[in-house]
């Protein structure tokens, strides 16, 4: 008993070397960046060109930078978790006690899903989607900037405890009550979690509104839905899911916050509350969420495999219907995350079968990808390495997913390390591989130069091999009865050797990450040699490749009608005579209001977490004032003159 109490006492945080290291890294990093900007005299540039920009290409880059920084933090967390489990399964104490270990995996899961995967996704969508559908902008440029700032606020809140000390939630990334309720988690940790996710989630919802509208309303003339590139289709599916499910998340979190802050009883075990309601709500969002992430990855791979096979995508119509089917089905399967709650056999069987049905359209997509390569001219570029790796890992993950969707089998596998392996299989082998492939593929379009091929291939191979070495043992541990979220296992269970192997896999993935960083630095230093002057480095098929790399601020100088599915591929066959008369183009002016709202949203969250009512109220008033100000601002566009466009276009000489 006494030992336990001292364990708790040392958790007050401040003396902990792990936390201290994080504090130094974070604060030091911020100061260093600020210093560099000051020395280079770049504050004005940063302010006008980036922070206040409403250009989706700039916003996209900011998403990518933040997401990569969070990937690094998430990876450090992951490394600590596995190291602890490796020591803790061999009979050692390790360096993280239970509570601390739980905080780390809660942060890890939340970071990776909300701030890494979602950040990469919105980054890529911002940079590529408008170009691909032949649009000059997104439907709501200001809203887009606001979304980004709310996302950044979420990042800020989840990292705040590292700077000010204190605890984070120790509940798992979905914070089930009653554990996350005030009785069992009295500290501010869960509140940090709630508000971080809540505010970032509202940003995601606004992005959903934005891109959904953009796709439906801003497609180039002639681009019917059935001529739309598959990536755009996949984003449409994903954003539809965002629209329908993020409101559920918002409500669930709001009710949990009411329970915690105002002692209400929505999800408590007593006084009429019902924790099962929360679990239903959170998964009614949570399951679609994993498809929100994977659908764009499907779209990315569809573009890549067609381009690098120099062949049309096989079975376009099937692909579209598969996306629609997956979108629809992902709403009606959430209960597979808690078959073990004790619903009756009819309910479990219904949700189990609905779940496995998703494997059908998913399987169809795999076959269509395979037959896109069949009788093509396949070039094994770095993007294709990611793709082939994905085919193997994703198929494996789909198989284990179907096993999990059989309720009686899930009774054995639920909450086990087998489940952990399944979803990392999908999230690393599917989502991460997909976004990495997309980033290497579109990198020249985003930045004007290519990424070094050799380093990229080596990185992709490290990830693929590392993933297998890191997670096949985790599947085996699941079959041996290993449970998730344990910081130690009795040595007599014999888990230790498999954890050691898994640890080696993590190191191999780590090598992959180092190679990627090296690749990025090398490519930046050699950007002249790797420059993409044509705007079409891979012999692409869709409209984004028809403009310079990087694309000009207005994207397209002319809005020629679209006649084909692979519009640009067809245009290249019969180049049109190029008699151009450019017109003036209006684009949105920058605005700092998104950032200002973000700042006060952050203050609001902190005030709620620390129960300072007046700051919370004041923040709401100020945010409302900013919204009203923006709504009444009519001076929001600027014009790019035709002569200027002519100059830009002729300097690149594209078509």
């Amino acid at each position: 008993m006494l030992g336990l109490l001292t364990n708790f006492a040392h958790l007050s945080g401040k003396t902990d070397p792990v936390i201290l290291g994080a504090q130094i890294a974070l604060i030091g990093g911020i100061i260093a960046v600020a210093l560099v900007i000051t020395i280079l005299g770049r504050w004005r540039w940063l302010w006008y060109e980036w922070l206040t920009s409403l250009n989706p290409k700039r916003i996209g880059v900011m998403y990518l930078i933040v997401a990569f920084l969070m990937l690094l933090r998430g990876a450090v967390d992951a490394f600590m978790l596995r190291l602890q489990q490796t020591i803790g399964s061999g009979g050692g104490e390790g360096f993280l006690d239970a509570n601390h270990f739980q905080q780390v995996f809660t942060a890890h899961g939340t970071l990776m899903i909300f701030f890494v995967a979602m950040g990469l996704m919105f980054g890529i969508i911002n940079l590529i989607l408008p170009l691909q559908i032949g649009s000059r902008d997104v439907a709501f440029p200001f809203l887009n900037s606001l979304s980004f700032w709310l996302y950044l606020v979420g990042v800020g809140i989840i990292n705040t405890h590292l700077i000010v000390g204190g605890e984070f939630a120790a509940t798992g990334w979905l914070a089930y009550p009653p554990l996350s309720g005030i009785e069992y988690s009295p500290g501010p940790g869960v509140d940090y979690w709630i508000w971080s996710v809540q505010i970032a989630g509202i940003g995601s919802l606004l992005s959903g509104v934005n891109f959904f509208t953009t796709i439906l309303k801003l497609r180039r003339k002639g681009m019917t839905l059935m001529r739309m590139p598959i990536f755009a289709w996949s984003v449409l599916g994903s954003m539809t899911l965002v629209l329908f499910t993020f409101p559920i998340l918002t409500v669930a979190l709001a009710l949990l916050a009411l329970d915690r802050t105002f002692a209400m009883h929505f999800f408590t075990s007593s006084f009429g509350g019902n924790p099962m309601m929360y679990i239903n709500l959170i998964w009614a969002w949570g399951h679609p969420e994993v498809y929100i992430l994977i659908l764009p990855a499907f779209g990315i791979f569809s573009e890549i495999v067609a381009t690098f096979s120099k062949k049309r995508l096989f079975g376009y119509t099937s692909m579209v219907w598969a996306i629609i089917a997956i979108t629809f089905l992902s709403y009606i399967v959430w209960l597979h995350h808690f078959f073990t709650m004790g619903a009756g056999a009819n309910v479990n069987a219904f949700f189990g079968i609905a779940t496995m049905v998703i494997a059908i359209p998913t399987g169809v997509k795999v076959f269509n990808w395979l037959f896109t390569m069949y009788k093509g001219r396949v070039r094994m570029s770095q993007s294709m390495i990611w793709f082939i790796g994905f085919l193997f890992t994703f198929t494996l993950g789909g198989m284990t997913g179907v096993i999990l969707s059989i309720p009686p089998a899930d009774f054995q596998l639920h909450n086990s390390l087998f489940l952990v392996a399944h979803f990392h299989n999908m999230v690393i082998g599917g989502v991460v591989f997909g976004y990495m492939a997309g980033l290497t593929y579109w990198f020249p379009k985003m930045f004007g130069f290519k990424l070094h091929e050799g380093l990229g291939k080596a990185a992709a191979w490290s990830w693929i091999i590392g993933f297998l070495v890191a997670f096949i043992p985790i599947y085996m541990l699941g079959l041996m009865g290993g449970t998730r979220r344990f910081e130690k296992f009795d040595p007599s269970l014999g888990y230790h050797p498999l954890f050691v192997v898994a640890g080696i896999g993590v190191v191999i993935i780590g090598i992959g990450v180092v190679l990627q960083v090296t690749q990025l630095i090398y490519s930046i230093l050699n950007n002249k040699k790797l420059a993409d002057k044509t705007g079409d480095p891979w012999d692409g098929r869709t409209l984004e490749w028809s403009v310079s790399s990087p694309a000009p601020e207005y994207n397209f100088a002319r809005l020629d009608e679209v006649n084909y599915r692979d519009e640009y591929w067809e245009r290249k066959k019969t180049p049109a005579a190029d008699l151009v008369k450019y017109k003036d183009i209006e684009i949105p002016k920058g605005s700092p209001i998104g950032m200002f709202i973000g700042i006060f949203a952050y203050l609001f969250a902190m005030a709620v977490i620390w129960h300072i009512a007046w700051i919370a109220a004041l923040s709401i008033v100020i945010i409302s004032a900013f919204v009203v100000a923006r709504l009444n601002d009519d001076d929001i566009v600027k014009t790019i003159k035709a002569s200027q466009i002519e100059k830009i276009e002729s300097s690149y000489g594209g078509m």
């Binding site: 079975g315 069987a349 189990g352 169809v364 269509n368 069949y374 198989m399």
Partner: protein
């Protein structure tokens, strides 16, 4: 030449991994694949069946994912190239059809097995059903044998070949009650009672644990699930009844104080409706009689901070 060497190296590597994992695993308990109970056996068979059925699709996919990019590589001579070939209704019918058929079979199996293996469903067997009530506490398991009048902590003994009916609740955050070698898990939730039916068919000591995160001591919520033959079981019950102290509400309050890694304890039950009162107090917080709802955990945390 190179590619042959590469394939050879990969083959050798896979072979080595197979041998090493076989040597290693053959010395270990692979709980889910080595069940000691009827339910766990059937659940394992489902895992096998689903795996085999899906391999019908997965193996060809792996093969094509390996072969196509090789065969149709831009450098490979005289491979056919059809840049505009983008649909073939017959082929597409196959790869809509085959997965539909396979999932169809798995779906039928799912429907049947989900009903057959519903944890709430009592098992038909010649022997009389053995009742055991389970309470998840911070952070230990309490087992009440209402018919035998005994209570244990972190040790549950069940007779072999007798259908056991567990009734499960929680006086703590949600937990999940799991004895991998006997059957799948089910949640333990406050104010509710879930059920799990198992039938152990071989004697031995098995791991039991909580599979759902429930706070600081969660990973120490392990218990011994022991299966013995009927006679030893009766002796065990009698011994506890004779030699152990009484367990009533006061003892329960005492045990409710959060603690970690409790060693097994044994008592004789002095209050028959203990379990139902633990369930009921969450639904009727005004219930008096010493079992008032307490915010134990927050007291616990406050304690910790005082130190």
């Amino acid at each position: 030449m190179w590619s042959k060497i590469r394939v050879g190296m990969v083959a050798i590597l896979i072979g080595l991994i197979a041998i090493v994992s076989y040597r290693y695993l053959s010395g270990q308990t692979i709980a889910l694949l080595q069940p000691k109970g009827l339910i766990a056996e059937k659940e394992r068979d489902l895992i096998y069946l689903a795996t085999v059925l899906m391999l019908i699709v997965v193996i060809p996919v792996f093969f094509m994912a390996f072969w196509f990019p090789k065969r149709y590589n831009e450098n490979s001579k005289n491979a056919e190239y059809l840049p505009d070939w983008d649909s073939n209704k017959a082929l597409e019918a196959i790869w809509w059809g085959v997965p539909i058929a396979i999932i169809g079979v798995i779906a039928i199996v799912t429907w049947k097995s989900t009903h057959e293996l519903d944890p709430f469903k009592p098992l038909a067997a010649a022997n009389r059903q053995q009742r055991i009530q389970v309470v998840a506490m911070e952070w230990k398991w309490l087992f009440i044998y209402p018919d035998e009048g005994i209570v244990t902590v972190n040790h549950v003994l069940v007779p072999k070949d007798v259908p056991v009916s567990f009734e499960i609740t929680s006086d703590a955050p949600m937990n999940s009650f799991w004895i991998p070698q006997l059957s799948g898990q089910i949640y333990a939730m406050s104010g509710m009672s879930t059920k799990l039916h198992v039938l152990a068919n071989s004697t031995g000591k098995y791991e039991g644990l909580s599979a759902n995160i429930s706070g600081y001591g969660f990973s120490d919520m392990r218990f011994i699930a022991e299966v013995v033959d009927k006679n030893s079981y009766n002796d065990w019950v009698n011994n506890i009844n004779i030699s152990s102290s009484k367990f009533g509400e006061n003892e329960y309050q005492q045990l409710s104080i959060p603690s970690v890694a409790n060693t097994p304890q044994y008592f004789s039950l002095s209050q028959n409706d203990l379990y139902s009162r633990i369930v009921a107090k969450y639904n009727d917080p005004t219930m008096i009689d010493g079992l008032k709802l307490q915010l134990r955990s927050s007291n616990f945390h406050n304690h910790a901070e005082d130190k």
